[in-house]
């Protein structure tokens, strides 16, 4: 028994050391996100009502794994909220990947009326709910804020003979072109199906990849025969800047020509491919049934996030379209996107109402 108690003591001492190390190392750097620190030092919530709206840590639900799709946005916004002490409780990013977002959506929809849950969106928020026939609608969620719209560009390999959107469309009318994008029946495929219909091309041979960066890489290496992609600007920028360049943007699906690193790239509209209304929405929704005070509280927090220098710089650098909306304005945009995606899903037989 004596030997045992000694080894118990020894092992417990070990565990204590490890944990103290963990908490000790983390806290100088991580002091603000921990609940203990937040409880003592954070200012009260900026609301008129007496009772605070948030009383425990907030889960910021992400529908992809760490590093994927919307993860970066949730973590950047969380970082800004923490550094500026915008929220009186910790905000914790929680990854719930799987089923092109279905798992995360189902989790968030079940937290009716609870302001301690937020979810960052990709356009799978509109497509997956339809395609997977989930037992709820995109409009059941509470729109909180739209922070930016991430545009699509039309990309080809640097050695491609196509110089304009018209070259590409002419070729696509002759034979099925192999294209690549993120996921199946999601935003990239939505784009290609729209181009197909608008320009009357042959059906594209669409290869789904898991991440936008892998899509861009497959274009750069001709891997798997990919000839065209509709990557977001930030996904293709590195490959375009390589010397010699590996990929080349042909045009931008924007109403006006882009600035910054993409200065000089024409709009697709100017080349006869008139799509200017489709973007990846970088936005936030909450569970159903949030009341006006809760919606206003979060709207106010994200307004401050939107005004932060870190976010402004990020928007400029990644050629995002700044379009901050909350409340009814946000809802209006969500309704438009729901309709757009429903139409496309029905046209392509992905969804039967």
């Amino acid at each position: 028994m004596k030997a045992m108690s000694r080894s118990v003591a020894r092992s417990l001492a070990l565990l204590v050391t490890v944990t103290l190390l963990a908490t000790g190392c983390a806290s100088p750097a991580a002091s603000s996100p921990t609940p203990s620190a937040a409880g003592s030092s954070a200012p009260p919530a900026p609301t008129a009502s007496a009772a605070p709206i948030l009383t425990r840590p907030v889960e910021f639900v992400i529908s992809t794994g760490p590093g994927g799709g919307s993860d970066l946005y949730a973590r950047l916004w969380t970082g800004i909220m923490t550094s500026q002490k915008l929220v009186n409780v910790p905000v914790v990013p929680v990854n719930k990947p799987g089923g092109a977002g279905a798992i995360a959506f189902q989790y968030t929809i079940s937290k009716i009326g609870d302001p301690h849950y937020l979810m960052v969106t990709l356009n799978s928020f509109f497509t997956t709910i339809l395609v997977q026939n989930l037992p709820f609608k995109s409009s059941d969620f509470t729109p909180i804020a739209v922070l930016a719209k991430d545009p699509f560009f039309l990309w080809v390999n640097a050695d491609s003979t196509w110089k304009t959107a018209q070259d590409f469309i002419a070729a696509a009318k002759e034979k099925s072109i192999t294209v690549a994008g993120t996921g199946s029946k999601q935003e990239d495929e939505v784009m290609f199906r729209r181009i197909e219909k608008l320009a009357g091309t042959k059906p594209f041979n669409y290869i789904p990849y898991d991440e936008g960066s892998t899509v861009a890489a497959s274009l750069a290496g001709h891997a798997g025969g990919t000839e065209v992609t509709v990557n977001n600007p930030s996904e293709g920028l590195g490959l375009w800047q390589a010397s010699p360049p590996k990929v080349r943007p042909i045009c931008a699906f924007l109403p006006d020509p882009p600035a910054g690193a993409f200065q000089g790239v024409p709009t697709c509209k100017s080349q006869g491919l008139d799509i200017t209304d489709y973007f990846n929405l970088r936005s936030v929704v909450g569970p159903p049934g949030l009341n006006d005070a809760q919606i206003a509280y979060w709207g106010d927090v994200f307004k401050k996030v939107n005004d932060a220098k870190e976010w402004k710089d990020f928007v400029t650098q990644n050629v995002l379209v700044a379009d901050f909306r909350t409340g009814a304005d946000a809802k209006k945009l969500f309704d438009e996107y729901t309709k757009l995606h429903t139409d496309i899903a029905i046209q392509n037989g992905w969804y039967n109402p």
């Binding site: 045992m4 108690s5 118990v8 417990l12 565990l15 204590v16 490890v18 944990t19 963990a22 908490t23 983390a26 806290s27 991580a30 996100p33 921990t34 609940p35 203990s36 009383t55 425990r56 840590p57 889960e59 910790p90 914790v92 929680v94 041979n205 669409y206 290869i207």
Partner: protein, 161 residues
């Protein structure tokens, strides 16, 4: 061993049969050219299940026809009871951990205490220490230091775990 080996192989055949039935629609490559690449969603699981089923049938026949060790999977009834005594509390704890029930921290504390006190028969203060100290350390490192949330109990809105 014979009945155990046979039953195990048969169970695999049954699981495979269910999987084959579920994915039967995609079993054959598409000849029309409408399906991208020619292979449907069900192709891969269907043929994986088919191999499981065929191999399972061979294993069943082998188990029935070849010489098998005389002794069973368990030496005596006591061994089965011991197994149940171990597996049932473990599964129970897994279930009780679900959010809204006891949550991770209470369930794991009870389990650690139960195991040290009842199964391993340590003195009660060791059992208590094990059941409290370890969950607290986990709480400190996961929830506080690294913001990794574990399932909370029905008490959550009032208590932090």
């Amino acid at each position: 061993m014979r009945p155990y080996q046979t039953a195990t192989a048969v169970i695999f055949v049954l699981i495979a049969a269910v999987a084959m039935f579920d994915s039967r629609a995609g079993a054959l490559p598409d000849p029309t050219g409408l399906v991208p690449g020619g292979l449907r969603a069900g192709w891969f699981p269907f043929w994986a299940a088919t191999i499981v089923a065929l191999a399972g049938l061979v294993a069943t026949v082998r188990a029935l026809t070849t010489a098998q060790p005389a002794e069973g999977a368990f030496t005596d009834r006591r061994q089965i009871v011991d197994l149940a005594k171990f597996v049932v509390p473990m599964a129970l704890v897994g279930w009780l951990m679900s959010p809204g029930l006891l949550g991770f921290y209470i369930a794991s504390g009870l389990y650690l205490g139960y195991y040290a006190g009842v199964v391993a028969r340590y003195r009660w203060y060791y059992a208590l220490a094990s059941g409290i100290v370890i969950p607290v350390l986990i709480y400190l490192s996961f929830e506080l230091a690294f913001s990794a949330l574990l399932p909370k109990s029905f008490l959550y809105p009032t208590l932090p775990f």
